[in-house]
């Protein structure tokens, strides 16, 4: 079976500075894959490279076997890859309902239609309502997204990301800045909403990572030094030295 995401020998340089060096990563279909690493290791850059936000200097990225490196973000999204952002990135002046609905429109085939009334599209309405229900924001549906609490905005961020029904979901630090209770809630949410999908997640909270992930990759200075099951990663001496060891002190 082809991997959901296959990153081969990807390099990203900004001027003379190599941020990502010889990055290789393979995420199997249906796998929950966590990317961990110290600050500045290039985790978000890796996300940006895969989702098309920035283009690799060399190397290639494949989604379900097709090369996607070099494509525009919206082209990659249309092929079934959706991502969230570390810094909340919603449509601030639009209501919660509108935020999710916008994310549903392309996938339901309405695209740039200017001859249909958006309020009378039953499948759009149902899907939007379903996602609002899933992220527990139905009671806030008419509130402008910019006025939500931080935790609510993070949930909306996840809602927008999964709304298109993408089969590959990438979440960039979905629980950053959340309290313990909020984190627990968010993890349960992520687990439920990505059921049967491929999940790639960047996360600092080790309890989240080891609780959620089937496989973990450790990124240090733009290079993946280890990739394996949580047990393998825990026991890996290289990881201990480069990352977990430092954390333990």
């Amino acid at each position: 079976m082809t991997a959901a995401i296959e990153v081969r020998a990807v390099e990203k340089r900004f001027g003379n500075v190599g941020i990502i060096r010889d990055l290789n990563l393979s995420v199997a279909q249906g796998e929950r894959h966590a990317i961990i690493g110290p600050n500045g290791a290039g985790k978000s850059t890796t996300f940006n490279l895969i989702s098309g936000h920035i283009k690799p200097t060399s190397g290639e990225v494949r989604l379900n076997g097709d090369v996607i490196s070099g494509l525009q973000p919206f082209e990659i999204n249309r092929r079934g890859l959706s991502r969230s952002f570390q810094v909340t990135n919603v449509f601030a002046r639009m209501s919660v309902w509108e935020n999710v609905r916008c994310a549903v429109l392309w996938a339901t085939g309405h695209r740039y239609a200017f001859w249909k009334n958006v309020d009378s599209l039953p499948e759009v309405r149902e899907r939007t309502a379903q996602i609002l229900d899933d992220i527990h924001l139905t009671h806030r549906r008419d509130v402008p997204a910019g006025l939500l609490t931080y935790a609510e905005q993070r949930e909306l961020e996840i809602g927008i990301t999964i709304a298109s029904g993408a089969t590959v979901v990438m979440l960039d630090e979905p629980t950053a800045g959340m309290s313990n209770a909020e984190t627990e809630r968010a993890v349960a949410l992520i687990r439920r909403l990505t059921e049967g999908k491929t999940l790639v997640i960047v996360e600092h909270d080790m309890s989240v990572v080891f609780g959620l992930a089937d496989r973990i990759s450790v990124l240090v200075y733009g290079h993946i030094i280890a990739s394996g099951t949580p047990e393998e990663i825990r026991g890996d001496p290289k990881v201990k030295e480069a990352y977990l060891g430092e954390e333990a002190h």
Binding site: A92, L105, H110
Partner: protein, 430 residues
């Protein structure tokens, strides 16, 4: 909070319950357009209403860019003017070829004129939003405006292109010679365009335009190309601006380079912003006010443009949501039943604020009329611009008015704080 949250979660899918009120507003608007010339039937009023109707279509078309898609254009009059020229050429062609096209169809060709130019120029222009778009729009505006004086065969040079609307085939016995008939033609196109532009905001494209306005980066990650969204919005804006231009051509029976110049572009930006870009009806209010002031103030003072500038700066600084934003701010208070608590502070503030405004007017008029020496008539009171008494009165009104007005404005802010806290507690304000 709890009571409100349960009530909103049970609310039916929009618009549902608001339907009756929604159609009511439109029907009242249409009825007003029909009845208006029967109440105010003088030639001057008809001319004013016609101009206001055209200005509304133009401002609404501009808001497709500014309010809906977040594109600040300094050259929107290009599409308006080209629509006007297209309409004039079409009218002349209809007459000379004897085509069976009556006048009411002409604005459609104006719209096509605006649309075709938008389609040609738009793809490059809308590649980027923000400053890049604003600068290019300014450049294109100047380019077309200067071309209109150079390319004489199309634009008729300084004189422009003239036409005769009564020479077209009659429709239902209407010759469109009298201004009243032209008014109804404009009113018809105003209703048609307003409904179409409102409907556009309720389509998938209209919603995604808002998303592009709020966050073009994120739009790319929900499957949309913001460039395509901006381009389509630009084309629609161009079309409706062209319709407005076509109506102008019919109204004046002429199209000239003034239609597509920077002044027109500035005026539409002005009307739309003063009215308020965040609500569909904002530009309607703005167009009515600005056109009315333009017609009224030019008779009263030579410094009318100065007043426009002051109003504009005031709105930008103190009420960036425009008139519509100011009005809609009160909606949650009305719903929460706390509006009455802020009204007294408004009434108190009126007196010093009006005094301040009078002081400003007196100062401006004194400066404007000093050398000419004509008297200033402010609410029936005569002031001589050369008289020191006038200067003192102006200074007292400005300084004293500003000082007291500030205090009363703080009271308004206090009353607002209290009223909106209550509204928030009752769940009418997020």
């Amino acid at each position: 909070m709890n009571t409100a949250t349960t009530s909103t979660s049970k609310a039916p899918a929009k618009p549902g319950g608001d339907g009756l009120r929604f159609y009511g507003v439109w029907l009242i608007g249409i009825a007003a357009l029909i009845v208006l010339p029967m109440i105010f039937s003088s030639g001057g009023s008809l001319t004013s209403f016609s101009l206001i109707g055209i200005a509304i279509v133009f401002a609404l078309s501009y808001n497709i860019l500014l309010g809906q898609t977040g594109l600040l254009s300094f050259g929107h009059a290009v599409h308006y003017g080209l629509g006007g020229f297209a309409a004039c050429h079409m009218m002349n062609a209809v007459v000379s070829h004897g085509w069976p096209i009556p006048l009411p169809f002409i604005p459609l060709f104006g719209g096509l004129g605006g649309l075709v130019f938008a389609m040609i120029i738009g793809w490059v222009m809308t590649k980027r939003a923000g400053t890049v778009f604003a600068m290019i729009s300014l450049g294109i505006g100047e380019l077309v405006a200067s071309s209109s004086l150079i390319l004489r065969s199309v634009f008729g040079g300084e004189a422009g292109i003239t036409t005769d609307r009564t020479a077209l085939p009659k429709m239902l016995g209407w010759s469109f010679g009298p201004q009243l008939q032209v008014y109804y033609l404009i009113a018809f196109w105003l209703v048609l365009s307003a409904i179409a532009m409102y409907a556009l905001t309720r389509t998938p494209l209209g919603r995604i335009s808002n998303a592009v306005r709020d966050n073009p980066e994120r739009v790319q990650f929900i499957g949309y190309d913001p460039h395509v969204v901006r381009y389509l919005a630009f084309c629609f804006a161009g079309f409706f601006a062209g319709v407005a231009g076509g109506l102008t051509a019919i109204n004046f029976e002429i199209a000239n380079s003034a239609l597509l110049g920077a002044i027109q572009s500035g005026l539409v930006l002005f009307s739309t912003f003063i009215g308020g870009t965040a609500f569909f009806f904002g530009p309607i209010l703005g167009a009515i006010l600005v056109t009315y002031l333009q017609l009224g103030l030019t008779n009263l003072t030579t410094a009318w443009q100065l007043y426009f500038g002051i109003i504009f700066i005031g709105i930008v600084m103190y009420a960036p949501g425009g008139i519509a934003g100011l009005l809609m701010m009160h909606r949650p208070l009305i719903r929460a039943g706390t509006l009455w608590t802020v009204i007294p502070s408004y009434l108190v503030a009126i007196v010093p604020t009006v005094a301040l405004a009078c002081g400003v007017i007196l100062t401006i008029e004194t400066v404007a009329r000093y050398s000419g020496g004509e008297a200033i008539n402010l609410f029936g009171i005569g002031f001589k611009p050369q008289s020191p008494v006038t200067w003192v009165v102006a200074a007292v009104l400005v300084v004293g008015g500003a000082f007291v007005a500030r205090l009363t404005w703080l009271r308004i802010a206090d009353a607002w704080d209290r009223a909106s806290t209550v509204a928030r507690d009752r769940g009418y304000l997020a």
